[in-house]
């Protein structure tokens, strides 16, 4: 008689580890730079054990020098390596913006040389206050030459990081803090998630919420709540913000004519504006009413958890937005 052990599925962070390990096994030119990666495995255990397995040449603890870290990754990428620079929190990218926006993003265009560089960081609103909760998606998405992954599940984390590491473009890879511990299936060695392909994470009949990252979780909760009220909402997780799945967005507009676009960045000038504006422009006639955007208030985040939580979209707010598009 054999006892069947139910395997625990990996976490979101472990999914990253898994994808990176697999790719490092086949490509010695992949290495990782960041602070406190070797022993600690990164602040979210995202590279735990990798230094021990691959050695100290493949995982380098850096000084707190974000500009130099990106420069190191970029120069090595230009030389022919495929570095992952782990910035820890995406907020710290603000100390390396020239390297990211002005240099890494533009080199391929200017010099006809690819920059196979992954910049990984946690993102999103959680505890930590104003300096650790910036939502900078719109900065990166707006920058020609950068691609931007914002996975919401372990499966997508692994599938997307593997795709990033098989390609040659600079990729900003944002993993939401609040998702670090969630568990789920991950694909095998041959499972890749392409950039620019959204995923319907909940099917629906009446309206669509287009979103990404942790907001996909909130949106799903809202959709479930609305189900009880007889409103069937589709939740579309974009998974990457550039390239963006314009086809999926167009299809949602055409199918439902009622669309909510959601994220947790301050609303004014967030990437939801791009999504809504372009969707409206492309399929205006399909719209039963305006696309409704939901985002955070225009304010820095507070350390107080209730204040911080209140700043970003709640299930209620999302439900209200859906009801608004249902009212057309």
């Amino acid at each position: 008689m054999t006892t069947e052990v139910k395997a625990v599925t990996p976490t979101y962070s472990e999914a990253f580890q898994s994808g990176v390990r697999e790719e490092m096994n086949r490509n010695k030119k992949i290495f990782i730079i960041g602070t406190d990666l070797v022993e600690r495995g990164g602040h979210f255990a995202q590279v735990k054990g990798i230094a021990q397995e691959f050695g100290l040449k493949q995982v380098r603890d850096a000084p707190i020098s974000e500009a130099a870290m990106i420069a190191a990754g970029m120069g090595a990428a230009m030389y022919g390596c495929h570095p992952i620079v782990d910035l820890n929190f995406i907020d710290f990218s603000l100390g390396a913006m020239d390297e990211i926006i002005n240099q890494a993003a533009k080199i391929r265009f200017m010099f006809d040389r690819p920059v196979p560089l992954v910049i990984r960081a946690t993102s999103g609103v959680a505890l930590g206050g104003a300096h650790h909760c910036n939502s900078l998606e719109s900065f990166f998405a707006h920058t020609a030459g950068l691609s931007l992954a914002v996975p919401s599940t372990p499966m997508d984390v692994k599938g997307l990081i593997k795709t990033a590491l098989r390609n040659e473009d600079p990729v900003i890879f944002l993993m939401h803090k609040k998702l670090s511990g969630i568990r789920g299936e991950i694909g095998d060695e041959n499972y890749f998630v392409p950039f620019g392909k959204a995923k319907t994470i909940k099917a629906g009949k009446d309206a669509a919420i287009i979103t990404y990252g942790y907001s996909a979780v909130t949106a799903t909760k809202a959709a479930q709540a609305l189900e009880a009220e007889g409103i069937s909402v589709e939740v579309i997780d974009l998974r990457t913000l550039y390239p963006i799945d314009q086809d999926a967005i167009d299809a949602a507009v055409i199918k439902f004519g009622r669309v909510v676009v959601l994220d947790e960045a301050p609303l004014f000038g967030s990437i939801t504006a791009e999504i809504a504006a372009t969707a409206s422009e492309r399929n205006f006639k399909s719209l039963k009413g305006p696309i409704v955007r939901v985002g955070a208030v225009r304010a820095p985040l507070s350390a107080n958890p209730a204040m911080s939580e209140a700043a970003i979209p709640s299930v209620d707010q999302i439900s209200k937005a859906v009801k608004q598009v249902m009212s057309y």
Partner: protein
């Protein structure tokens, strides 16, 4: 600086005790979930804070780091208002918006803790520029950790202070580790004072466990600054007893190393000996002092516990003046 007198000695000792008790108490409360987002315990580093802040004037400016409870308490803020801020309560020094990393009272010269490594020196340098511009008889102190010594912006600011002869002290609260990274592993050259002196300002490596030594160097640096002779760089060697963030352990240093510092280099023990041997207090009087400190911290906890949460509705208030749109 005049010879140490009794009341000063007891004040210095008591202030270090306040910090130690505050930190150890807050640490436990943090483990019990009372400090949203965690906190950075400064136990072991009391002499740096007290030596520095006791040598400058009440309305001199400081700007500091993510680890700044000790600097803040030493600047004279009550344990109540600091503890309440750790609890993110409305009575906290930053009204619950800042939390442990963002203690500030700008009107009184506390220009804030900071979530970003290396940012504090720049802000202090700017304050020093303001002081110089207005012609006030004040100085500014920018605290930075050993880890922050590898952020480029810090050196930009040191250079600027050097060429403009700003009334600034750069105070390295050098606890030898940045998270889990030993300073020697990431600091080219190893000698921070030598590094700094290359930027053309007086620079010293000093014993950060000796409150009187810190006080002396800071006091002399302040005199130079007030005399228009410009900035001074002081690297104070100290040690952090606890993990980087509350609850963290790690294998990056040995228990022996910690014990060695605690038993032979403790700043409070060392200064207690001075106090007793100078005849400023008996052992019993020292214990009384400790008891009074205990009471103060207990009151601070009670205050923080019983304080109201900030108004949630305030989350969009104070972002800007709102007056730019008014026709003048």
């Amino acid at each position: 600086m005049s010879k140490l007198d009794k009341s000063t000695a007891l004040a210095l000792l008591r202030q270090m005790m306040v910090i130690r008790d505050f930190e150890e108490t807050a640490d436990k409360l943090c483990l019990r979930g009372k400090v949203p987002g965690g906190m950075h315990n400064s136990s072991g580093q009391e002499a740096v804070a007290v030596g520095t802040l006791s040598a400058i004037a009440k309305d001199d400016v400081i700007a500091t780091t993510h680890r700044s409870h000790h600097h803040t308490l030493a600047k004279g803020y009550s344990a109540k208002s600091v503890m309440a801020e750790l609890f993110t309560k409305s009575t906290g020094i930053s009204h619950g918006r800042g939390g442990s990393m963002h203690l500030a009272e700008v009107t009184e010269g506390h220009f804030g803790g900071n979530g970003i490594v290396g940012a504090g020196v720049g802000i202090a340098m700017g304050a020093a520029l303001g002081i110089q511009h207005i012609g006030d008889k004040k100085i500014a102190v920018g605290f930075v950790g050993d880890g922050g010594m590898n952020t480029g912006r810090t050196w930009e600011s040191i250079n600027m202070a050097s060429i403009w002869k700003l009334p600034l002290i750069i105070l390295v609260d050098n606890n030898q580790y940045a998270v889990e990274t030993f300073v020697g592993r990431v600091t080219g050259g190893g000698d921070l004072a030598k590094r700094a002196s290359g930027f053309g300002l007086p620079a010293y490596n000093i014993d950060g466990q000796d409150v009187l030594e810190v006080r002396k160097y800071v006091s002399e640096a302040r005199e130079r600054a007030l005399a228009g002779e410009g900035p001074t760089f002081i690297n104070a060697l100290t040690y952090r007893y606890y993990g980087h963030n509350v609850g963290e352990k790690g294998q990056y240093r040995t228990q022996e190393e910690i014990a060695q510092w605690r038993t032979t280099q403790d700043p409070i023990d060392k200064f207690t000996e001075v106090v007793i041997s100078s005849g400023f207090a008996t052992q019993a009087e020292v214990e009384e002092l400790r008891a009074s400190v205990r009471k103060e911290i207990e009151e601070a906890v009670a205050f923080a516990e019983s304080s109201p949460e900030p108004e949630i509705a305030s989350i969009t208030q104070g972002v800007d003046s709102g007056k730019l749109g008014v026709q003048l």
